[in-house]
């Protein structure tokens, strides 16, 4: 990284960095620090006095059955969204990677849902799966299935999973396709000559060679399911019915912004911080490993 040509100027580099550093200090580090600070205090009901309570807030949060239920729910939701959107994307990418006519057209037709906002995707699926006006929702009821996501928590969860995955398939598709196209074709041809059928070739050669992409997408999708699906849930179910679609992010919003529980929501924020740090660290380990591949 050191270069030979370095410009002079004692002040200029700091001035160049100033705008971004100022934003990170004021809007990132200071509030994150505040969250850590508040997480050690308990406030009275009027927000007038606060007492230092060590890890009391964490103890309350981590032993709260509602929080643990929300964590479990988040795990199910994230796994389902990641699994569903990655599996369907991989299938589509494998099909598009075969040299068929119109592959470029399919690519365009499969890429645009990435641009649809999670909340807009939620509204679209709401319109389709609404129990009384939605075309699929009504069909389900006509078939004798008691579909009503406003009353049934499991159905609400599946609706949120569908809306959140639908939007994410495009992203995974583009990365899987790029990964597939980078695989050397002679390797696959050699396997074919040795008598490996299409399924065998996929599972024994293509899928292992694709593993860096798969692993990368795994992390990205978990982060998406954790943090970026707030809009989907807020627009679709608002965490309901009951709390059956309240994920950890939704809970930190409700406790912090709606219920104004400063200490508790700060402790939750710090717990989320640990989750992001873990996921980021995992991602970076992976990047380092990929460098060794090359």
């Amino acid at each position: 990284m050191p270069r030979r040509v370095i410009f002079d100027g004692k002040l200029l580099p700091y001035l160049l960095l100033a705008p971004q550093v100022a934003i990170t200090l004021v809007f990132f580090f200071w509030p994150a620090g505040q969250a850590v600070y508040y997480s050690f205090f308990l406030q009275d009901a009027f927000g007038l006095r606060q007492t230092f309570v060590w890890f009391e807030n964490y103890k309350i949060v981590l032993t709260d059955p509602l929080y643990l239920a929300s964590a479990w729910r988040t795990a199910i939701f994230s796994t389902a969204v990641t699994g569903l959107s990655m599996a369907s994307a991989l299938l589509l990418a494998v099909m598009a990677d075969r040299q068929i006519r119109g592959a470029a057209v399919y690519k365009t037709l499969l890429m645009w849902p990435y641009a649809v906002a999670p909340a807009v995707a939620a509204v679209l699926w709401l319109f389709v799966l609404h129990p009384t006006i939605g075309i699929l929702g009504r069909s389900l009821r006509d078939l004798g299935f008691a579909w009503d996501y406003k009353l049934n928590g499991a159905q609400a969860m599946s609706l949120v999973i569908v809306a959140a995955s639908w939007k994410q398939v495009s992203y995974n598709f583009l990365f899987f396709l790029a990964g597939l196209q980078a695989i050397q074709k002679p390797v696959i041809e050699a396997a074919a000559i040795d008598g490996a059928g299409p399924m065998r070739r996929f599972w024994s050669i293509i899928f292992p060679l694709l593993s860096p992409t798969t692993f990368f997408l795994l992390v990205v999708n978990l982060v998406y399911a954790f943090f970026d699906t707030f809009g989907t849930i807020h627009a679709l179910t608002a965490g309901g019915p009951g709390k059956s679609t309240e994920t950890l992010i939704y809970k930190v919003y409700v406790d912090g912004v709606v219920n104004l529980d400063l200490g508790g929501s700060s402790a939750q924020s710090v717990i989320l911080l640990v989750v992001v740090m873990t996921l980021t660290a995992v991602q970076f380990r992976y990047i380092e490993r990929r460098v060794h591949y090359g």
Binding site: G9, L12, F27, A32, Q34, Y106, A117, V120, F127, H234
Partner: protein
């Protein structure tokens, strides 16, 4: 590619067409919904073919927002807010990142790597991690319900800074030397040499960041509470009544949804090349 084609050639087409159908289906239903009157939809009688009310519905959603009982600003106002937010956030992120990356790569000064890591660590600090205090700070600055509040706090970008840093490191030293010999100062070099070389990266990042800004949900929800400052992505949710008694104006909501998703989708479709480049590179 290897098997005899005739026997299995239809399979990829079938699977891909099915995928496209699943993608298009909800959009198609929204489009149909936006061309009928609210009564037909409310009774659950929405046909599968377009109705004749497209012009009326879109015009009403555009200029008056939705319905009589649900108070909401016209979609045109919300689209303007979204556009302002998306463009300023994208341009702002790119501008501060270009400057930071330039400083980190081409200058030698105490704390260089410290500042770089400082920007980088913001990757780990999404809004939910610093929820309450960020809101307080924006409130203290008097930026609630303002374009400053919607845009400036989002302008830091670890990925854009990282991307420009990677790119600048591939610029040969000879270019900077030659520029110096010709008497170009540091700012001149940035403006006349580096920026023209960076256009492809800037365009690609702009597409990705524009979509990010347009679709951002948590931040505008937190920072705005007046109807006139809502972005379209949040405003849409507000049109759906939560109580069971109110009859939603689904036709107008769907017209709003179509208008909300058209700009970012158009950006992706028309700037496809830049989009794919930006997406793949910003995730490296």
């Amino acid at each position: 590619m290897i098997e005899s084609r005739s026997r299995t050639a239809w399979l990829p087409h079938l699977v891909l067409a099915l995928g496209v159908a699943v993608f298009v289906f909800p959009i198609y239903m929204a489009l149909i919904g936006s061309t009928h009157d609210a009564g037909i939809i409310g009774r659950g009688n929405l046909p599968l073919t377009p109705g004749g009310l497209a012009t009326e519905n879109y015009a009403q959603a555009w200029s008056q927002g939705s319905g009589i009982r649900v108070k909401a600003p016209p979609v045109s106002r919300m689209l303007l807010n979204s556009l302002v937010m998306a463009v300023i956030v994208a341009v702002g992120k790119i501008a501060v990142s270009v400057l930071s990356a330039y400083a980190v790569v081409f200058f030698h000064f105490p704390g260089r790597m410290f500042f770089f890591w400082m920007i980088f660590v913001t990757l780990m600090l999404p809004v939910p991690v610093r929820l309450v205090s960020t809101y307080e700070i924006v409130g203290t600055l008097g930026w609630l319900n303002s374009y400053q509040g919607l845009t400036i706090p989002l302008m830091a970008s670890a990925t854009a800074t990282f991307l420009f840093r990677q790119f600048y490191m591939t610029i040969p030293n000879e270019l900077a030397e030659a520029a110096q010999i010709d008497g170009a100062g540091p700012l001149r070099f940035l403006w006349s040499f580096l920026l023209p070389l960076s256009w492809a990266n800037i365009a690609a990042l702009f597409v990705v960041l524009f979509i990010y800004g347009w679709n951002e949900y948590f931040w505008p929800l937190l920072i705005t509470n007046t109807e006139s400052m809502r972005t379209v992505v949040i405003g849409l949710e507000r049109l759906i009544p939560r109580s069971g008694t109110e009859q939603p104006t689904w036709n107008l909501i769907m017209a709003g949804a179509m208008m909300a998703l058209l700009p970012p989708v158009a950006v992706i479709v028309f700037l496809q090349r830049w989009f794919v480049k930006g997406l793949v590179e910003s995730e490296k």
